[in-house]
Amino acid sequence: MKKISLIIFAAILIFLLVIILNIVTPPKTYDILNKVLIQYGVQLEKGGSSPVVRDFKFPAKGKTFHTIIAQEKETRIEIEIIKPLSEEAAINYSESKYIIITSLYGPQIIPYTGALTTITDCPDDKKPEEIITEVMGKPVRVLLANATERYVLGVWEDDLIKQKAAFAVLYDRENSTHYQIIIFQPSESFDRNVVLDILKSLKKHPKELEN
């Protein structure tokens, strides 16, 4: 009887300790996406309040490379920003990005011997669909492409397709800034209108417009 009481007492003690620790430890705070984007003078009117889960910036060769990943519920927004980048370089770079993404769904060299990767050619219905939409007053090519559960593009086997993404690159000439935006949603609930609305909602920040 004494032993049981002791165990109950210990359990209560641990429970209280956990509660105290939770109270003392400040909750992890995340910036929202727009708070990070404002430094580039832009904001997303839709999806901009998504909590940032990764914010990685590094300087290289006089440029800033910035990767921001924000996720709210099942929608994940990945933005890569390069600043400054000349318009000529940005045009070439953008073109190469579309080629790279499209080529992920082209014929592949078998990476493993064995039966698991017998499908080395992507069926047409699994290849990226290209549409044109307008972002910040300019036409932008968008690729709607399949991805894995870990948000990796270039997958076409049915059991591996867990996400679908809208991929786009665009260039802000006034600020010499290049953006690569990928918006993911689970493939089963992927809503192209919702995703495109997020993309189209990229706007100059009001303060930037005043300037």
């Binding site: 190469s96 990005k97 080629i99 790279i100 990476p111 011997t113 870990r150 593009l153």
Partner: protein
């Protein structure tokens, strides 16, 4: 209650004693002893081949640090940034360099600067990817920075451009060179491979047909002080390792005369990469096995020419990189392996247990291809770089 407490303490002590006993049976030093006696073959089972990113991480069993690698890039119009990554054990990018030229592989210097080979040049960059040094000369496979500040490089001398293997008459145009160069680009020492074909044939007992990239050399490393070198002068400190993958041959060159002293490999290894000397004098080799279609990592005692340790998978074909790749013995006795063709880097214990496994997908949006080599660095080693990064970010 008193009776139970005593029993609990006794039970705890028994568990501790048992763990201490089992640990003593499996320490790396003991494994090293066993390696000298016979070939230890360790294997692991195949993981789900389609899993990507970080697949396994057992912190308590790993050599925890940072891993450096890059995806080889085929280049092309528009691909103006070529990333080199330093990742932590969870697969997060800790630092990234963006280089002008397309890197084949990179190594981190103790001062925090990075050296990379792009097939044409050896380039040094700072933490912000600014080029601080470069040395031209078709350096495509191997280099080593030496303690005195000089560099050992393996390069090929071509008649016309860095990739042209044969001239109009199908004669080989690439001539292997191993050189020691200074920071101000003076050549202190040079070895010309084509002058040692006769020696190679004599040692191998084979006739070499010098076509294509017959003498493609993917290694150069100055032998460190080791006990084998005290027994046999061929392996003494200062001599140099080479690796002709097309001939499936590794060997040792005499630093003072340039003579090839020792060769090994044909019929046993195939298209091997990156032989490197371990502290115990043995050589760690990634044996690609391009003819047999499965790879292995082996530890060779060069004196007895006995394979004393070997890692492969079951089934064997599941660990296979027909080209590229490397292996690095870590300070805790584990081995880091880059299975280059599959963009896979993983760490195994001496017993073959996979304790860290990572498949990079960073190339999916950057146009990169396979990984030529990967290296793990301790947190202590990376400290100067991290300090530089911290200062840059503060200014930023």
């Amino acid at each position: 209650m008193h009776k139970y407490s005593v029993a609990t303490i006794l039970l705890g002590l028994s568990i501790l004693l048992f763990q201490a006993y089992t640990y003593s049976q499996t320490t790396p030093s003991d494994c090293n002893t066993q390696r000298k006696q016979k070939t230890i073959v360790v294997t692991s089972k195949t993981l789900d081949k389609r899993q990507i990113g970080l697949r396994i991480y057992k912190p308590e069993k790993c050599y925890n640090g940072y891993t450096l690698f890059t995806h080889q890039s085929l280049g092309g119009p528009g691909i103006i940034f070529h990333p080199i990554y330093l990742i932590d054990m969870k697969g997060n990018i800790i630092h990234q360099w963006m280089t002008d030229a397309s890197p084949i592989f990179a190594r981190l210097k103790p001062d925090g600067h990075l050296l990379y080979a792009d097939g044409e040049n050896l380039r040094g960059v700072d933490a912000q990817s600014n080029e601080i040094w470069h040395y031209p000369g078709c350096i495509d496979h191997a280099f080593q920075f030496l303690e005195d500040g000089n560099f050992l490089i393996a390069r090929h001398e071509y008649i016309d451009g860095c990739l042209r293997c044969q001239d109009e008459n199908n004669n080989p145009s690439g001539k292997p060179r191993i050189e020691i160069i200074t920071r101000d680009k003076k050549v202190l020492w040079q070895w010309r491979g084509e002058e040692h074909v006769d020696e190679l044939e004599r040692l191998l007992g084979l006739k070499i047909v010098p076509i294509g990239r017959w003498c493609n050399n993917n290694a150069c490393e100055i032998l460190k002080d080791n006990h084998l070198g005290k027994k046999d002068a061929r392996f003494r400190k200062g001599n140099i390792i080479f690796s002709f993958d097309a001939l499936s041959v590794i060997g040792v060159i005499d630093y003072s005369t340039g003579e090839i002293l020792w060769v090994w490999g044909p019929g046993i290894i195939q298209n091997q990469h990156t032989p490197t000397m371990l502290d115990n004098g043995n050589l760690l080799i990634f044996d690609n096995g391009s003819g047999r279609h499965w790879s292995r990592v082996i530890e060779l005692n060069p004196l007895t020419e006995q394979i004393v340790w070997e890692y492969h998978t079951e089934p064997k074909e599941d660990f296979y990189s027909h080209n590229w790749s490397n292996a690095q013995r870590l300070a805790n006795g584990n081995t880091l392996i880059c299975e280059g063709i599959k963009n896979r880097i993983f760490e195994i214990t001496p017993e073959g247990e996979i304790v860290w496994d990572f498949i990079s997908t960073f190339n999916k949006t950057t146009g990169g291809e396979t990984i030529y080599r990967a290296y793990r660095y301790s947190p202590e080693y990376v400290k100067p770089l991290l300090e530089m990064i911290r200062k840059v970010r503060e200014v930023d």
